[in-house]
């Protein structure tokens, strides 16, 4: 094979208190599709951010086209030939596709600094046609479909004469039938000699499109192999590694027969409906890849999104049209993003812990300050929030303690059903174990828990039952002990798996 176009040597990246990447080597050849795989937190996104100029590596060197390079920012990386296409597109919805591709570039202006529209349109159209886009580049981007918008993103990257193109979960936002079109574009690029880094969880896609695969785990590179030398089984094993067993407490009961929540044909969007039930004291895990709809399930149950279908709590049909109604039916929801949805960070622990129930702590017109104090101190203690007192500002707490405050503010509502979404995101291992212990105790105490998480070990370690979701549907149900990460990932990434294929 020819010379590598890109070589990364000994790349390390440290954040305060965390080693995100350790001594990673990575090589990329022209005209190859190189899949980058790893679990959440394995270091994929850090590596991509270094490659696209968002972060500077703490240690290590990058060679591009035979020269040592440093990327100062994403624009700089792009000019040197490395472009990235994010899951979230960075397009101007109010401008034409042609302009989105060539915006603010000297090569389309004429002598007096005027934009040459005919040239702009012609070149953009040629570029789009060269990758088989089939878009009229004069149309405004807001009127284009998702696939076409992605094509515009790709064309924009190529317009910088990209030698290296990074695609971050390119299929996540696409409807199923568009994925093949996207592959068509990727194949053309490969044929033109572009090196593509393809980041995805989806096994089926990796085997269909990639030439090579590199697996990361815990910030280290595990291996790089040609795709022909690996099987799905092998890949998953490389990604997962050894189990971290003792993080998860051992369950004593595993839920009681009494049914607490029953969901009947609840709509997620126009074409997808789900049904399931949750028992007293049960931890029900919900797992799916990006775009599978697990988050929507939580939003619907908590009244944040409207739709059709019936919800029964303790056998009674209920209407949940707003968070307020959800709370009154004793449903609590720990949202995935504690910074945006969970906490008011510039305010005190006490104010955050009592926020949900201030109405109940009001006597006449005034707040019953004694009760507020009592509740906030109780839950601070119960959850072992580490802070001098409850007048401490939440912003100054560590991630783990912040998460405990979110948990506490919802437990203070004394719910019957607790929805947890990504309960340990951005939390260190010690706090993780503590939070698992708390969840465990709650379930043992009879609380019904719906655990939504993208971390497989967490779902497997904590859940009594696991529902696997794929594109808005439940595709499989596992019981505790029936499943390991390999099988879970297989089911989540490839729903049309035949029963006999599972060993």
């Amino acid at each position: 094979m020819s010379q590598p176009i890109l070589t990364m040597r000994g790349i390390s990246k440290r954040f305060p208190g965390v080693k995100a990447l350790e001594e990673v080597d990575f090589e990329l050849y022209p005209g190859e599709v190189h899949a980058l795989m790893g679990e959440n937190g394995a270091g994929k996104s850090t590596l991509m951010k270094i490659l696209s100029g968002v972060y500077a590596p703490t240690e290590g060197t990058i060679r591009l086209k035979g020269r040592d390079v440093v990327f100062h920012n994403p624009m700089n990386a792009q000019r040197q030939g490395v472009s990235i296409i994010h899951q979230e597109f960075n397009l101007f919805p109010n401008l034409s596709a042609a302009e989105n591709i060539y915006i603010d570039r000297p090569d389309i202006t004429g002598r007096f600094g005027f934009i040459k529209w005919p040239k702009l349109v012609r070149e953009a159209q040629a570029l789009i046609d060269s990758i088989g886009g089939g878009i009229d580049v004069r149309r405004e981007v807001q009127h284009l479909g998702v696939h076409s918008q992605q094509v515009v993103e790709i064309a924009k990257a190529l317009s910088f004469r990209a030698d290296v193109l990074i695609m971050d979960e390119p299929s996540a936002t696409l409807p199923e039938n568009e994925v093949q079109n996207m592959f068509e574009v990727v194949r053309r690029l490969r044929h033109q000699g572009v090196a593509i880094v393809y980041v995805s969880h989806r096994m089926k896609e990796i085997f269909e499109i990639a030439d090579k695969v590199t697996v990361l785990r815990d910030g280290k590179k595990i291996d790089t192999r040609p795709i022909g030398e690996v099987t799905e089984q092998k890949l998953i094993r490389m990604m997962v590694g050894k189990e971290v067993g003792n993080l998860y407490p051992v369950r004593i009961t595993e839920g009681q027969p009494q049914q607490v929540l029953q969901v009947d044909e609840m709509s997620l969007d126009a074409s997808h409906k789900v049904s399931f039930e949750l028992h007293k004291g049960e931890i029900l895990g919900l797992f799916g890849l990006v775009g599978s709809g697990t988050h929507t399930v939580a939003e619907r149950l908590f009244g944040l999104r409207k739709g059709t279908g019936d919800v029964y709590i303790l056998g009674k049909k209920v209407r949940i049209g707003s968070p307020l109604e959800a709370i009154s039916h004793k449903v609590a929801y720990v949202p995935p993003d504690r910074h945006r949805q969970g906490l008011i960070k510039p305010m005190t622990i006490c104010q955050n812990l009592s926020l949900n129930l201030l109405k109940d702590y009001t006597k006449g017109m005034l707040l019953d300050r004694k009760r507020v104090k009592q509740v906030s101190e109780t839950y601070m203690q119960k959850l072992r929030v580490k802070a001098p007192n409850d007048q401490h500002i939440v912003d100054f707490l560590s991630g783990g303690n912040q998460q405990k405050v979110v948990l506490g503010k919802w437990l203070a509502t004394e719910p019957n059903i607790l929805i947890l979404e990504e309960p340990t995101r951005g939390v260190d291992v010690g706090a993780k174990a503590e939070i698992y212990q708390i969840i465990h105790q709650l379930a043992e105490g009879g609380l019904s828990i719906l655990l939504i998480s993208s971390e497989m070990p967490e779902v497997i370690g904590m859940s009594d039952r696991i529902l696997v979701m794929h594109k808005g549907e439940f595709v499989h149900e596992f019981r505790r002990g029936e499943v390991d990460q390999e099988q879970l990932l297989k089911r989540a990434s490839n729903p049309r798996l035949h029963e006999e294929a599972v060993p």
């Binding site: 968070p323 929801y333 949202p335 949805q341 510039p346 305010m347 926020l355 009001t362 503010k409």
Partner: protein, 314 residues
């Protein structure tokens, strides 16, 4: 450990801010007293107190509205419309106190239109209230065609022109309102919600708090207090005019921002606003005594706004 240190470092800073305002205020008093012998007299002080009531009353809800992360530019127009409504109602033969109630209702109604559009339909507060400002000013002229309405019964002047133990009645009312509002912000859940809205509206919504209702209430309060200000203004000047309350929003917003309320919401206090209020009314009074024209004064207020906001970090 380091976090609690940081926290301790911030507490005195807050005290400092109050202290800065107090020092600024004191320095101003000293300066003006050297300029005009009349400045530092009891009569002048009571005069200032008497004149600050309209701005002060509106500054109360304005502080809350800005803390919640919004803005109300229609307060001056609401004041004007309420004042004229009061005059028209009285002219039409209504009892004066009933006319006052009409004025308050008109103000609350305007506020609720603002609130409905901004809270319920999530429209931009600035544009909606600018639209209201222009529309209401127009309606004032439509209603009374620009002529002043005067000639109210004697008891009505009690509100704006009388004094108890030498202190103007309206100033006493203002201070009582400030105390009630401060108390309410500290001791009711409403206060917590207002700060919460300004800091992180989404988290407040996720906590099952009726966000729409709170925002709506804020704008209704803003309308109600503007109407109250209108009533006191008519009583003080003995006349309801179409131009009543023009440009009052500059004084109100300046007082609020000088008082440390953050332009992006989430931070601020009524105590700060009260200090800001004292600073700008005594500033205006001192400049008046020195013979500086009213419109020149607005240059100084404008610059004060820029300084106050320029120091705030995002």
């Amino acid at each position: 450990m380091s976090t609690s240190l940081l926290f301790r470092a911030i507490q005195p800073f807050r005290v400092n801010k109050m202290l800065t305002l107090l020092l600024l205020f004191a320095a101003m008093l000293v300066f003006f007293s050297t300029r005009s012998p009349y400045f530092l007299t009891f009569n002048n002080f009571m005069n200032v107190l008497n004149q600050m009531v309209e701005v002060g009353l509106i500054a109360i809800p304005m502080t809350l509205v800005i803390i919640s992360g919004a803005m109300d530019l229609s307060v001056g127009a609401i004041l004007g419309l309420s004042a004229v409504s009061l005059g028209l109602a009285y002219e039409s033969g209504m009892n004066i106190w009933l006319s006052v109630i009409v004025a308050l209702l008109v103000g609350s109604l305007c506020g609720s239109v603002n609130g409905y559009l901004i809270a319920r339909h999530r429209m931009q507060a600035i544009i909606v209230t600018i639209g209201m400002l222009v529309m209401l000013r127009g309606m004032i002229y439509v209603l009374n065609e620009g002529r002043p309405i005067s000639g109210y019964p004697e008891p009505f002047y009690f509100l704006g022109q009388h004094a108890i133990a030498g202190i103007p009645v309206n100033a006493i009312f203002l201070i009582v309102m400030f105390l009630i509002a401060t108390f309410a912000m500290r001791r009711t859940r409403f206060g917590t919600y207002v700060y919460g809205l300004g800091n992180n509206e989404e988290a407040v919504r996720y906590s099952g708090v009726p966000v729409v209702r709170i925002r709506f209430t804020l704008f209704v309060l803003s309308g109600l207090f503007s109407a109250m200000a209108g009533v006191f203004l008519v009583s003080r000047l003995a006349s309801a005019e179409a131009t009543s309350g023009t440009n009052i929003e500059l004084d109100v917003i300046t007082a609020t921002l000088i008082g440390g309320t953050h332009i992006f919401g989430g931070r601020g206090s009524l105590t700060g606003t009260f200090m800001g209020l004292l600073i700008i009314v005594f500033l205006r009074n001192g400049l008046n005594l020195m013979g500086v024209s009213v419109l020149y004064q607005s240059v100084i207020l404008g610059i004060l706004i820029l300084i106050a906001v320029g120091k705030q970090k995002v």
